[in-house]
Symmetry: D3
Subunit: 136 residues, 6 copies
Amino acid sequence: MATVRLWSDAEADADPRVKAVFDDIRAARRSDFINNFWRALANQPTVLERTWADLKQVMAVDGALDPLTKELIYIAVSTANGCSYCIHSHTAAARAKGMTEAQYGELLAVIGMANTTNALVTGMQVPVDREFAVEG
Amino acid sequence: MATVRLWSDAEADADPRVKAVFDDIRAARRSDFINNFWRALANQPTVLERTWADLKQVMAVDGALDPLTKELIYIAVSTANGCSYCIHSHTAAARAKGMTEAQYGELLAVIGMANTTNALVTGMQVPVDREFAVEG
Amino acid sequence: MATVRLWSDAEADADPRVKAVFDDIRAARRSDFINNFWRALANQPTVLERTWADLKQVMAVDGALDPLTKELIYIAVSTANGCSYCIHSHTAAARAKGMTEAQYGELLAVIGMANTTNALVTGMQVPVDREFAVEG
Amino acid sequence: MATVRLWSDAEADADPRVKAVFDDIRAARRSDFINNFWRALANQPTVLERTWADLKQVMAVDGALDPLTKELIYIAVSTANGCSYCIHSHTAAARAKGMTEAQYGELLAVIGMANTTNALVTGMQVPVDREFAVEG
Amino acid sequence: MATVRLWSDAEADADPRVKAVFDDIRAARRSDFINNFWRALANQPTVLERTWADLKQVMAVDGALDPLTKELIYIAVSTANGCSYCIHSHTAAARAKGMTEAQYGELLAVIGMANTTNALVTGMQVPVDREFAVEG
Amino acid sequence: MATVRLWSDAEADADPRVKAVFDDIRAARRSDFINNFWRALANQPTVLERTWADLKQVMAVDGALDPLTKELIYIAVSTANGCSYCIHSHTAAARAKGMTEAQYGELLAVIGMANTTNALVTGMQVPVDREFAVEG
């Protein structure tokens, strides 16, 4: 149950700003499927437009990091934040982009390991080594 | 300021269990440098041994994910958890493993973006689409 | 599914401490509705009494911040903490106190933005400017 | 100590993209002061441009929420995320926008209260009341 | 709905590595019940083996902390992390190890209190007192 | 550097509400030392009074959980929340109440382990077993 209404295609078609974003999502993804995140965000066209524009730029295919690596990072952040929806959508996206079970297993292992050492470091309040400084 | 004492090399050398781990870290990394995390963990030899054994296995070079990708995931988790020490140590490690400034910029961009969409999804409590289900 | 039993009105009526709190909640809110949070907390009368007393004081109508602003802050914290129940209850409360869709859209936008810049700042470990110091 | 270099004014002036953003920040804020967040982000001009464009839009003066309320929400999120820098910068911004000590006290009180009830709700896994549903 | 398939007993029996772990869990707990966490982790035998080995060592009965205290700490961390599954499984485990309702009420009270003071401290960015230093 | 001024004893003595709380803290702890948290909170007497009253009740000596166990839980929550000040103050308090190094090592181990399994469970979105239900 969401705190907002999820827009149907008919409703989206009737609002030029929402329709423009939904059309662009469909074109960019070469798929008719619009997931619930965008249907929820449709209630706030300004946030919808900015979020989609930003996401398209950040997740662009021709970057310095390949698309699958970006999805792995997205899953890692979403897991640390406990965002159930985001974990599901980005795990599905990673699989669609070719993530193997072996890669997924290592992703989970690194996430698990990082959470342990983060906690140990924080619990003992370990001071940063000078060797890690950017310059010098 | 830590909540525990950081062990010097002399102290580590005097404790067989700690010495064994420090020796193995130095061998694995081909470097004499032992960072503060391990010097803090030396107060608890059992945790030290288990953590190093686990980390060595998880971050192993010959996995399904390359070592740099693992460091990027580690930075992402550490940032979401706000672990200052871990951010410093793993950003330094990623650079040592060849992370370019362009890759770092995209890593930051994905982390930033994920935190925004995580928050929007959580704020609106968006229900998971059936299309994301594992089977069917 | 909760980890505790949710108290019915009949059970609450049979326990003087719980009854007193439930009566006071109903009087303060001018409504018969007691939401599940209080029905769960009824298992621990001491925590129930203290939590209600604190909440009544903190959310008091005649403060320096108006009631709607307090609800917006409550939603912001609950979203950052990923507390699904709290997001639902306080979004409903904010709407009952007059939150418009435009205000809600800006609230989501600020929450989303703050999570991005929080992550960027944390990822780069930006040092605090001296200009932000309280005194001089 | 940051994980990146903080750009001086001279360096920023020598890079057209960074200079354009810094000029716009100074114009928008009617102040010469550029805080460290932007000096750190200057290392990544694309992220710098997008973040400033988004922030200007989100924190715009003529919205449905007044500028001070937005700062209070920003402080609440930053506190929940434990972002020290962001807490300092937005508390300073809130004071510059007129936050009184009484308002600050209530902000802290609401943040503290929300964190308690978030934790109690999460600890007991309280199910969402049907009464909080958006429609019906 | 999980992002992975939950293994049945028949599937586990057909995989020697998974079977060995499941057998050991049953022996250690003197119960036939294998909870979903392990059935999900079975997809990644290496992570399964390491996690079970670590957990068995950490939660060992003959430690410096008694088993119930360890479960209370586990619930506290899981609540702070918002891990619904973990809260359920460890609250059930704590009850199985004798946690009384009075103890549970105090656990919730301490968790709630800690979240409040954590937030107040973080919001005001209180500097650490020298008196808390480890040596001197 | 705090976002508020830390009150000196002279300032506290000049404000009856603050003085009353500081006096009570000193009496309860049988020590003249007032740590920075209370000196910061003195800026907001209402929050100061409520927080101290709550803390005194929650951490009371004659509860169902012994004082040391409560401190261990406090450290666990503070670590998960990344509250540096709180980790320092409650680790010092736990040691003052008799926490041994062996107990501290196990506390860290449980905190580390819980963060790993929390992350694995969240990453795989494991559904709660029916066996964990409170009744039936």
